[in-house]
């Protein structure tokens, strides 16, 4: 699963495109990488399974076991993968679900409700279609195959084909996929558990209790959780409940919390102590306090992600997607109602379920999707949602014992996935073309820097590069204007002019703080106020804003009048409207020479990009003795 926070930047710069395919893959968005690796695993499995001889089958059925004294514990390789290794995958999914529930998209029910409703419909309707198609055969029990969308695949596809789509679409998809994973986990737990034996569950409970106690005691070192996790897994395995659910149970217990500013400050102090005397013991405290500032859930999620992407999912595909494809097997499969149940269930079922349910919700609540996402986007998305790869193959193994049924199921799943991907790709290609025609410069600043409305640092008449930031006061770690000014003057002299615009996002006082900043501008103290607001950030009460105003040296009585009257609201709302038009959903966002900067947000990277823009202007100017186009564009200011 990919990082939902959306930190994977799309690499659009021409230099990245010139690289060889491998390094392009390594630098591509995480979602895309995951999908490519998964496809590779599938293709290798298919080739391997169709090589002469039964090499594939016999390899994955090799027994592998442990022996303690007299007792022996043995599973074949495929079961090690599906029961043990996949527990890590499900733990990862659960961590993501929990994070979304407590910190992310699913926290806000008003916003999450549409994709969640779509996800529920997307669980039920495909299952009903499958049952309808296979009614009266033994295959009916395989309805769980069609319930879930493969999050890794679908996010990878979206990263590949949905680049010009509004980012809110990705959030919709993540929410949908996560909600849908919850359903799939439930299906696996309740519908596909056989030979249930409750006693060994006590072992699992003991292990979970150990984890709970460790959590309560504030143990934050990840590896210490490993031993009780193995105990829980063994308990689940012996009980007959699918052992991968051990991963779910454990992940549910791992603490999650937003980073606390106290912890961050403490970490900063320790790092400072280490800078002053770089000894091994200070290095350790600094490292520990940094790690402690992030909840174990997030650290576990982050630590697991590369293993999931590069190891667990491709190995799973390798162990499960290898179906023998011969003329007979294909004819056999495509005359089987099981195969068609899966294909129709996944492809048609998901399209109908997601599109229709979302359409109904938007009839009731016209603003449910937000301004950026349109119904056509959702339809495209619902086509992609038929890619039910990983969990579908997983359930196929659970649902059927007969190898012919399993093979039909595998062919059905692979066919449905390929079909859904093709349909989705075509739909998105059409939409992208339309989108491009409608707004050809999506990553361009819609309102040019205008010194009569924008507060500007530096001198526009001498600047060769302009930087416009859309930001807010949610964290104290945005570069202070003073710092930015010094940094820019130090690095670029008078070559860069910098302006700030408001992008208050979710913070309750975000807009109020922005208006306060504008009220300070009326007293000629915009930047001083901005620095003080950053110092007070995150802004959680009005007193912080008043304190910032006093520290910025404002006339408080005048300030409060202007703030109350919301004199600066017009500029704030204009900025916000522009930001919405440009689909900015992340602060800070920088525009360097009116082009959106998409790289990592830290002072060095941003400054490097500014330097690159400056150098390219210099090159152009020195290459042509006549005024370069860019310089003439600057003449506007």
């Amino acid at each position: 699963m990919t990082n939902v926070a959306g930190s994977a930047p799309a690499i659009d710069s021409p230099s990245a495109a010139r690289r060889d395919p491998i390094s392009r893959l390594l630098r591509s968005p995480e979602a895309l990488r995951g999908a490519v690796v998964l496809i590779a695993g599938t293709v290798v499995a298919l080739i391997w399974a169709n090589l002469p001889g039964d090499n594939y089958g016999s390899f994955w059925h090799l027994p592998l076991g442990l022996e303690f004294g007299g007792s022996r514990f043995e599973l074949d390789l495929q079961h090690w993968v599906n029961d043990a290794v996949m527990a890590v995958f499900f733990a990862h999914v659960t961590l993501e679900v929990r994070r979304e529930l407590e910190l992310g998209e699913l926290r806000d029910w008003r916003r999450a409700s549409v994709p969640v409703i779509a996800a529920v419909a997307g669980l039920v309707i495909p299952a009903l279609i499958y049952i309808g198609v296979t009614w009266g055969t033994d295959a009916v029990g395989g309805w769980g195959i069609v319930v879930s969308t493969d999050t890794a695949f679908v996010l990878g596809m979206l990263a590949l084909i949905g680049r010009v789509m509004p980012p809110q679409l990705r959030i919709f998809l993540v929410t949908l996929a996560v909600a849908d994973d919850v359903g799939a986990l439930g299906v696996i737990a309740f519908a596909y558990t056989d030979h249930f034996n409750p006693l060994p569950l006590l072992i699992a409970v003991a292990g979970l209790a150990m984890i709970a106690v460790m959590r309560f005691a504030g143990v934050w070192r990840g590896p210490l959780y490993l031993l009780p996790s193995i105990v829980v897994w063994v308990g689940f395995f012996l009980s007959g409940v699918h052992a991968t659910l051990a991963g779910v149970a454990i992940a549910l217990l791992l603490p999650i919390f937003p980073t606390r500013f106290d912890d961050l400050r403490r970490a900063q102090d320790h790092v400072r102590a280490f800078q002053m005397s770089p000894t091994a013991s200070y290095a350790r405290t600094a490292k520990n306090s940094l790690a402690r500032a992030v909840s174990i859930n997030e650290r576990a999620h982050r630590a697991l992600t590369p293993y999931i992407t590069w190891l667990i999912l491709p190995i799973f595909a390798l162990a499960n997607a290898g179906v023998r494809i011969t003329r007979e097997s294909l004819v056999d499969a495509f005359t089987s109602r099981l195969t068609w149940g899966i294909i129709v269930g996944l492809v048609v079922g998901k399209i109908v379920a997601i599109s229709v349910s979302t359409w109904i919700v938007t009839r009731v609540r016209p603003d449910a999707l937000g301004p950026a996402v349109r119904m056509s986007h959702i339809t495209g998305l619902s086509m992609l949602a038929g890619m039910g790869f990983t969990i579908s193959l997983f359930v196929t193994e659970l649902a059927f014992d007969d190898s012919v049924d399993v093979s039909h199921g595998q062919i059905g799943v692979i066919a449905a996935t390929v079909l859904a991907a093709t349909l989705g790709a075509v739909a998105f290609a059409v939409m992208s073309a339309r989108e491009r025609r409608r707004s050809p410069h999506r990553n361009r600043l819609v309102r040019a820097l205008d010194p009569s409305r924008d507060p500007v640092l530096g001198d526009l008449s001498s600047a060769v590069v302009t930087v416009v930031e859309y930001g807010n006061y949610a964290t104290p770690y945005s570069p202070a204007a003073g710092e930015m000014r010094r940094e820019m003057e130090g690095r670029f002299g008078t070559e860069v002019a910098y302006a700030f615009r408001h992008l208050p996002l979710e913070q309750p006082l975000g807009r109020s703080a922005a208006i306060a900043n504008e009220a300070a501008a009326l007293q000629g103290r915009f930047w001083e106020m901005r620095d003080e607001l950053i110092r007070e950030a995150p802004i959680e009460n009005e007193r912080q804003i008043r304190r910032a105003a006093a520290s910025a040296g404002l006339n408080l009585r005048r300030f409060e009048r202007d703030w109350d009257d919301a004199t600066g609201a017009q500029r704030v709302d204009e900025d916000l409207a522009d930001a919405q038009a440009m689909h900015l959903h992340q602060a800070p966002t920088y525009f360097i020479d009116n082009i959106r900067y998409e790289g990592p947000i830290d002072a060095d990277s941003v400054n490097a990009a500014v330097a690159a823009a400056r150098n390219s202007v210099r090159d152009t100017t020195s290459a042509n003795s006549t005024p370069a186009p860019r310089s003439s564009a600057l003449g506007r200011w």
């Binding site: 008043r546 304190r547 006093a550 520290s551 040296g553 006339n555 408080l556 009585r557």
Partner: protein
């Protein structure tokens, strides 16, 4: 709140805010204002001293104290809010906060100057500006509204140890005149009272954080007692609205 108290003094019904309430002069002003029937909001830095003074005054619900550092604009503004919350309006501001550090100019410590500039001048600016709004509001309703600034004059030419303090006192006087011109037409009176401090101590270098200590030295030597200053404050505030006791110079009888 003051309205329902059974007071019959010349300032009954008035609400006064006193900065530097626990200081040498401020204490006397607080006593005098309470005696004259006003409700007062005492502003100082030390909660314990304010609390003691409040008990000493025994003014019941006519006396409120609030902790604020006059050099912090935010805290001054909080004091304004506290006063208005409690009494509904403010119609008299007395700024008697000040520190005095003395030495020959060539021996002067710049940090001491900064402290004096901060408290005596900047603090006074904060207080005057912050409270001008509610005071003007009162004046606009045709009731008396006064700012009383406590300045100083130095008469002792033999002991030129207070160059910076005197410079600031001159600045305060000039400010009072300018404010009088700005606010007079709007019905608000600005007064400045300048007592003479004949400070005559052998060594006047004191730690800046104990300004009261310096004032105690001044107290011993000065013929102008705080009670006299307080009496003038009351007089200035109690005069009919149409006249402004604008500038008052208080000198010791013998040396004058």
């Amino acid at each position: 709140m003051s309205e329902h108290s059974a007071t019959t003094g010349v300032l009954s019904g008035r609400v006064a805010v006193v900065f530097g309430a626990t200081g040498w002069i401020g204490r006397a002003i607080c006593h005098e204002l309470v005696r004259a029937g006003a409700s007062i909001v005492m502003v100082g830095r030390d909660a314990n001293r304010l609390d003691t003074l409040q008990r000493e005054l025994d003014g019941g619900d006519r006396v409120l104290f609030t902790v604020a550092d006059v050099t912090s604009q935010l805290e001054v503004d909080d004091a304004r809010a506290a006063a208005i919350t409690r009494f509904g309006h403010i119609d008299l501001l007395v700024v008697s906060s000040g520190v005095i550090t003395g030495s020959a100019f060539s021996e002067g410590v710049p940090a001491d100057w900064a402290e004096m500039i901060d408290v005596n001048l900047r603090g006074l600016l904060h207080a005057s500006q912050t409270f001008a709004e509610p005071l003007l509001h009162r004046a606009g309703h045709g009731t008396p509204a006064d700012i009383v600034l406590i300045g100083a004059v130095s008469t002792d030419v033999r002991a030129p140890r207070f160059a910076v303090f005197n410079a600031l006192s001159a600045a305060i006087k000039q400010l009072a005149r300018a404010l009088r011109h700005e606010y007079g037409p709007r019905g608000m009176r600005v007064h400045i009272i300048e007592p003479s401090f004949a400070v005559d101590q052998p060594d006047e270098r004191h730690h800046a954080s104990a300004p009261e200590h310096d004032q105690q030295h001044a107290r011993a030597a000065s013929a102008v007692k705080p009670d006299a200053i307080a009496a003038v404050v009351t007089l200035a505030a109690a005069l009919p609205r149409s006249v402004n006791l604008a500038e008052v110079l208080l000198l010791p009888t013998e040396t004058a």
